[in-house]
């Protein structure tokens, strides 16, 4: 690809590193993230034992923080990727339908979008997870099914625009069915802006997962998530700074990279910013 600056290369490298760390966590983690060792509670980074070194220290149950942070990356990225896929698919479908059929279909869909957007997302997620009971699957479903309106808005606006183009009309007159036109002709044309939204949502979903886990509504103990590690860290903030600093730093860097990648992607996709 043309014009990847050294800064952007670093960001892509970091993103790849996060994904590799998440995928390879079971093999690269020095310890079992669930194994407790009550004699080794809240040890600072660098503590050495016979089995190896606690590079980032240990938590309140004597578990190795580095191993937990590595496994936490799995949770973050898995939740974000799955929930973004669900909301992207669902939101895009609704947007395509509204933009293609217009009329009352569009009114009904776009009114629901407005309504969904007037409930702050984090609160709706908190309420829904609380009602359904926290679990990995519920977390993904809730995030996936509450975050579709942004995609619908973009897909709707883009479809309205694309649907008037001559070649779409030509395909219609050639007898292509609605489903075929939407799938073969319109979707590829509106994919760019949707990917921009999906990227920014990906960063947001990582934050949501961490936030909900921090509140005890996400990934349930003993499984590690950056949010739940930090929630323990909050309790021991005066004795064990490493419990908040390291997972938080990972979260911050990952979200920063995703946001910067999103900005870069938007500059590529948005015709107004092209050639600037």
């Amino acid at each position: 690809m043309r014009g990847i600056s050294p800064g952007m290369a670093l960001i892509l490298l970091l993103l790849v590193a996060f994904i590799v760390a998440a995928l390879a966590a079971p093999w690269i983690a020095p310890f079992d993230p669930l194994r407790q060792s009550l004699l080794m509670r809240l040890r600072p980074p660098g503590t050495t034992v016979a089995a190896g070194m606690y590079l980032l220290g240990t938590d309140d149950l004597g578990r190795d923080l580095l191993s937990r942070v590595l496994h936490g990356a799995r949770a973050s990225i898995a939740v974000a990727a799955l929930s973004v896929s669900i909301s992207l698919a669902f939101g895009t479908l609704l947007g395509l339908l509204a933009g293609w059929f217009r009329g009352w279909v569009a009114v009904a869909i776009m009114r629901s979008v407005d309504t969904m957007l007037s409930i702050p997302a984090i609160l709706l997620a908190v309420l829904t997870v609380a009602v359904l009971g926290p679990s990995f699957l519920n977390l993904i479903l809730v995030l996936g099914l509450t975050r579709w309106p942004r995609y619908t808005r973009v897909a709707y606006a883009q479809t309205l625009q694309v649907a008037t183009l001559p070649y779409i009309r030509a395909a219609e007159m050639a007898g292509a069915g609605s489903a075929r036109i939407l799938w073969r002709h319109i979707l590829p044309n509106i994919a760019g802006p949707l990917m921009v939204v999906a990227t920014s949502e990906f960063g947001l979903m990582i934050l949501f997962e961490a936030g909900l886990s921090f509140l005890g509504l996400g990934i349930q103990p003993p499984y590690p998530s950056w949010g739940s590690i930090m929630s323990v860290g909050r309790q021991y903030v005066e004795r064990a700074w490493w419990l908040t600093v390291f997972p938080g730093a990972c979260l911050f860097v990952l979200v920063l990279c995703v946001n910067l990648f999103g900005d870069w992607l938007r500059d590529r996709v948005d015709p107004r910013s092209q050639g600037r």
């Binding site: 007037s118 309420l127 938080g248 979200v255 920063l256 946001n259």
Partner: protein, 306 residues
């Protein structure tokens, strides 16, 4: 103007109705809402009794109508966990959250708007880059992390500020900064874009051709024009601040509705959670409406239309 207002009111009404509906059905997602309302450890007999008393054995449509009717009469129900009206339980926490959101808004407006304006006017300069880094950090910092870092540094390490609770005005400082950081970034980005947009217009060149300095042109002409899109965002951000309070209040043990919501979830007191969601959503919708009115107040083109 009147028609515009009526249209907006209707929109707000539709949105409120939609919110009520969504919340109703979310509360019914678990199947039997009685289980959400009883304290843990209630016997099957008690549950059945309560189900009948609350009418949860009726058809869903009837329940829905009853629910809407209750809300129309501003009857929010009674917490079976705390044995007190929900309105009171939530009401006494609201001032704390409003104080927190207000403080955060102050941080966000006070830093974000000037930062955005400076970034636009000093486009391409060192100052813009420095501010852009600040904005980017604010945008990617998870509030619970920045909150704990603030606690670590100012509370634990320096010992300047209390690490939790709401005992004095000093307790408000850190939560307000943690909560305001993201909104600050949003304001700065919005302000930058809309000031840049306005700076490229002919009337700015014309004002300078009349002898105004760049800053005089900005303060006398550009800012009012640039304010129009920013005001809309500002109103929406107030809703986001209230929602973000859920996490920040938990971090700082700040006794607002966010902390209440989380405590109520742990206590399985779902009517309280529902009320918090309804409250925040109403503020959100009301702010939207207010933004439209503010819009009209600033812009004579809208004010003049009848």
């Amino acid at each position: 103007m009147i028609r515009l207002l009526a249209g907006r009111l209707l929109q707000a009404a539709v949105a409120s109705f939609g919110v009520l509906t969504i919340v109703f059905f979310v509360m019914r997602l678990s199947g039997d809402p009685t289980l959400l309302l009883v304290p843990e450890g209630a016997s099957a007999e008690q549950v059945a009794q309560l189900r009948a008393a609350l009418g949860f054995d009726r058809p869903l449509v009837v329940q829905y109508a009853a629910y809407l009717g209750d809300l129309l009469r501003l009857d929010l129900g009674e917490s079976l966990v705390q044995r007190a009206p929900v309105a009171g339980i939530v009401g006494e926490r609201i001032p704390y959250t409003l104080a927190l959101a207000g403080g955060a808004l102050l941080v966000a407006l006070g830093i974000g708007i000037p930062a955005g304006i400076l970034m636009a006017v000093h486009r391409g300069g060192v100052l813009e880059r420095a501010l852009a880094a600040l904005v980017l950090a604010g945008q990617s910092l998870p509030t619970f992390w920045s909150g704990i870092l603030l606690i670590l540094f100012f509370g634990v390490y320096l010992g300047w500020l209390p690490t939790s609770g709401a005992d004095s005005l000093a307790s408000l400082i850190m939560p307000a900064i943690a909560l305001g950081a993201l909104t600050m970034s949003t304001f700065a980005r919005m302000a930058r874009i809309s000031v840049l947009d306005e700076l490229s217009r002919d009337y700015v060149t014309a004002a300078r051709a009349r002898g105004l300095s760049v800053w005089a042109a900005v303060s006398r002409h550009v800012l009012r024009n640039a304010a129009i899109p920013v005001v809309t965002i500002a109103a929406l951000e107030i809703g986001n601040l209230l929602a973000g309070a859920v996490i920040v209040e938990t971090v700082f043990a700040w006794p607002g509705i966010g902390q209440l919501a989380i405590q109520s979830i742990q206590a399985r007191d779902f009517l309280v959670v529902q009320t918090v969601v309804l409250f925040v959503s109403s503020v959100y919708i009301a702010m939207n409406l207010l933004a439209d009115l503010a819009y009209a107040a600033i812009d004579p083109r809208i004010r003049g239309r009848s």
